[in-house]
């Protein structure tokens, strides 16, 4: 009923990921004691964060990204100077962190509306080579029309004030971009498969380095683009790095059903979780996906503020809200409390059918450290979270098998 192969709950592994963004998900986080606001676009800061996440044995970290500056307004740029603005390319950042880590999955966000599908495919495949099998990919469509002017090649729908009041209304004008995004993912997967695993033969007798029968044109024809192939990058350690998407409405649920290995959703309570999982399951049904063959892992996103002392996290949030000049607003549920209280909530939600959680630390490194050193030991004590990595690939952490190239002849 949930799109997964089994009903999670007792005995099913609980998966845990962290979404890293700037100084954290609270707009005032960069002004906190312990923040490193001048280093948010530099390597050392991120190396410290990801090393900490790996210490907590997390499945993966995601890196936010966009082809335009951040904005406090969903659909328009803003001119604010009191919040974090500026970013670096997330695929390159993830690749940089690959040799500095050994187990944790690295999942960069990329734009699939403006970036060439071929470049995306070889970038993620290269990340998978560089991390020896720990790459993931979070494809994201361009929902802000102003970003299109950075490229000058096409226009994308301008959402209105009315649209952004509701997630269903947001996704309606963007439906064509979602469809195209799913095609981009499909083209990338074909490119990843275009070299069979044993295409490189180094056969001195015949002088052949590759077996050309095992390197394939993909001849992908999408609605508005085509890709000939094959890839220039040989098949990567995971074959197909997992695709992660965030979804709030019917259209993105269908995108996930078509394209994703992990879908992150944003319920705000237990009943909401069940309702959203049912919607995801319906989307899976509509697209005809066989989840026994291609499981879809469901994660819930939560913004978290964690302190050991009861009430301290809520007080901290109030203080941050005052600095920011407005209460923290989020598409995801905002949790304030102790690591033990969060462990209660996660185990409870997990039993309703979620496979895992993508936690968005409100303040870095404070709330990340509280996850890795507070929440994780708490979950381990309850026997619901790994006590060591048992795999070296992201697919392995997620319990997803490595798929054969679709071009490989059976047997």
């Amino acid at each position: 009923m949930t799109g997964t192969t089994r009903a999670p709950g007792a005995g099913a592994p609980l998966h845990l990921a962290v979404a890293l963004d700037g100084a954290g998900w609270h707009p005032a986080a960069w002004r906190e004691e312990g923040a490193r606001p001048g280093e948010l676009l530099d390597a050392a800061y991120w190396a410290d964060l990801v090393t900490e996440a790996e210490r907590g044995l997390l499945d993966f970290v995601t890196f936010e990204d966009a082809l335009g500056l951040q904005s406090a307004v969903f659909h328009l740029p803003d001119d604010r100077t009191d919040q974090v603005r500026g970013s670096i390319d997330a695929v390159l950042l993830a690749a940089h962190l690959a040799p500095l880590t050994t187990h944790i999955g690295l999942v960069p966000t990329t734009n699939v509306t403006h970036t060439e599908p071929f470049h995306l495919a070889i970038g993620i495949a290269t990340l998978d080579h560089a991390s020896r099998g720990r790459a993931g990919w979070r494809p994201q469509i361009s929902s802000r029309a102003a970003d299109a002017a950075h490229f000058g090649r096409r226009t994308t729908p301008q959402l209105t004030e009315d649209d952004v009041t509701d997630s269903e209304r947001i996704s309606r004008p963007l439906r064509a971009l979602f469809t195209e995004g799913a095609e981009v993912v499909e083209a990338a997967r074909l490119l990843w498969d275009s070299w069979e695993d044993d295409a490189e033969i180094r056969d001195a007798a015949t002088g052949r380095f590759i077996d050309r029968d095992k390197v394939h044109h993909i001849d992908f024809q999408g609605t508005d683009f085509s890709v000939k192939g094959p890839s220039i990058t040989p098949r990567s350690p995971q074959g197909r790095p997992p695709v992660v998407s965030l979804a709030h409405a019917t259209t993105p649920y269908e995108f996930a059903a078509r394209a994703s290995d992990v879908v992150a959703v944003t319920p705000h309570d237990g009943a909401g979780t069940a309702a959203i999982l049912a919607q995801v399951a319906e989307a899976v049904e509509r697209t005809g996906r066989d989840v026994r063959e291609r499981p879809l892992r469901t994660f819930a996103d939560l913004v978290v503020l964690l302190d050991d002392e009861p009430g301290a996290a809520a007080r901290r949030k109030d203080r941050l809200d005052r600095v920011a000049g407005a209460p923290l607003a989020s598409d995801a549920e905002i949790f304030t409390g102790t690591p033990a209280e969060l462990a209660d909530l996660l185990t409870d939600r997990h039993s309703t059918g979620l496979d895992g959680f993508r936690l968005r630390p409100a303040v870095l490194p404070h709330d990340l450290t509280a996850i890795t050193r507070g929440l994780v030991p708490e979950l381990q004590r309850r026997g619901v979270f790994r006590t060591e990595y048992t795999s070296t690939t992201l697919r392995g952490h997620l319990g997803l098998e490595r798929p054969a190239s679709r071009y490989a002849k059976a047997g």
Binding site: L67, H129, I210
Partner: protein, 468 residues
């Protein structure tokens, strides 16, 4: 008067992914795609205090007679992604990526280079190349849309636009001032470019790295390419490794700089080269012969001949004479291989002449025209030759292409570099942290009055409008 100080030899290394420059059949040859190979070669040349590590690009697998070409090493990573990983396991080595100006857009390319420069602490370089071929274009949304004549105008405007984007953040725009509550300066990253190829505006996401602009590399040898290099590049690659031709090229390129207000040392000329080192000159010569033969298998010899002749020659004996049939003019057999694209009738004529004169078989001819190893000999012989080449203005240094992945430069680094250091022509250690510093380049890549790529200096008022 004190003696003129000797010129420093600048060294770079390339991990080749394509063409028959790498012996893959050697038992010591390891993966061309594993990250371990990249790390091993990068760390080796950093130990040798090289200026930078360079990756070429090919965005479509080559095809021969309508099928994927299978005789050479194939399969490579996305350049900037792998260099970003290498930035984490090296500390001083420059990291140079070839990135095509045809199949990319300025906003994203500028952003990715700014990212690499930040991640590496100021070690990024960009080899700006262009492509117009529809064959490669089939892998891209935009296809093979670019007329050949527009190659350099697009490249020049692409680079101009990238520079506007890097300059869109002033050095103090990233304030991160928690007490004042000011993260950025107002309007940081704002830009607008209106030109023939690009009409874009908005806000750029990424404050530039320590170098401001990455080092710009150009690799065309045509007149337009040389002019583009003289106005805009800081390194030019060349394929000239015959000393007399190289000196002509060197003089010609350096003399073009003055028109753009640039000094001769603002553009470094680095030919591609390879070195075969052994205990003695004789052993090295024998090894070089062996490498040349291994690089041209019988199958490779026939394939290269077919590429020039434009017809199927699989029935010919690679150890026999050249075919007496005439080349087909229009057939383009080996696609994605720049060497065989043009002037094939003339090439065929020259090859026949050479084969007749020297009584060469097909394979012997292809080995002969494939080019010799540039520097062959004992460590002392190779070091002397390199030093001499640079001191006599044949080059400012070399991009070394190893014939083995990833250990192909071990001997050079362990045995030739110490002699160059002893001679005082190669650094004992890095004295700077950025690639600009290694190359002795100024921080300001454009002189005052710079008029834009390929444009003479402006003497009057510098209006902001960019036209191309």
């Amino acid at each position: 008067m004190p003696a003129t100080p000797k010129k420093q030899v600048h060294l770079a290394a390339q991990l080749p992914g394509i063409h028959n420059v790498t012996v893959w059949s050697d038992p010591r040859s390891e993966s061309q795609i594993s990250i371990d190979s990249f790390i091993r070669l990068a760390q080796t040349v950093e130990r040798g205090k090289f200026d930078f590590f360079f990756l070429a690009e090919g965005l479509r697998l080559r095809e021969h007679k309508g099928q994927v070409y299978d005789l050479d090493i194939a399969g490579r990573p996305e350049n900037l992604t792998v260099l970003s990983a290498l930035a984490a396991v090296t500390t001083r080595l420059g990291l140079a990526a070839t990135v095509n100006a045809t199949f990319n857009e300025p906003y994203e390319a500028a952003r990715r280079f700014a990212t690499l420069d930040r991640l590496s602490g100021g070690r990024a370089a960009w080899n700006v190349v262009t492509s117009y071929d529809a064959f490669t274009g089939e892998n891209f949304r935009r296809g093979g849309f670019l007329p050949e004549a527009d190659r350099y105008t697009r490249a020049a405007e692409f680079l101009t636009t990238a520079r506007e984007l890097w300059d869109s953040w002033a050095s103090d725009d990233l304030r991160a001032d928690a007490a004042a509550g000011e993260f950025t300066a107002p309007g940081a990253g704002r830009f607008a470019h209106r030109g023939r190829h690009f009409d874009i505006s908005g806000r750029f996401t990424t404050p530039p790295g320590p170098q401001g602009h990455p080092v710009i590399i150009q690799s065309g040898e045509s007149d337009a390419g040389r002019e583009f290099a003289a106005s805009d590049a800081e390194v030019i690659f060349s394929k000239h490794n015959r000393i007399d031709v190289a000196r002509d090229f060197y003089r010609d390129v350096k003399r073009r700089l003055a028109a753009y207000g640039r000094r001769p040392e603002d553009l470094l000329i680095l030919p591609t080269a390879n070195a075969v080192v052994a205990d003695t000159d004789e052993e090295a010569a024998a090894y070089a012969e062996e490498i040349s033969r291994e690089l041209v298998s019988p199958q490779t010899a026939i394939a290269h001949l077919e590429a020039v002749w434009g017809r199927d020659l699989s029935a010919y004996d690679p150890d026999g004479p050249l075919p007496d049939i005439e080349p087909e003019d229009d057939a383009h057999f080996l696609k994605g291989h720049s060497v065989f694209r043009k002037g094939r009738a003339e090439t065929a004529r020259q090859w026949r002449e050479l084969a007749a004169e020297r009584k060469l078989s097909i394979r012997e001819l292809v080995i002969e025209v494939g080019g010799r190893q540039t520097f062959v000999g004992s460590p002392r012989t190779v070091a002397d030759a390199i030093d001499d080449y640079v001191q006599t203005e044949g080059a400012d240094g070399f991009v070394l292409v190893p014939h083995l992945t990833p250990g192909g430069l071990d001997d050079f680094v362990d045995r030739v570099v110490p002699i160059l250091q002893e001679k005082g022509v190669h650094r004992d250690d890095y004295t700077g942290t950025t690639l600009r510093e290694h190359l002795g380049l100024s921080d300001a890549p454009r002189p005052a009055g710079w008029g834009g790529p390929g444009q003479p200096l402006r003497t009057g008022r510098d209006d902001k409008e960019t036209s191309a």
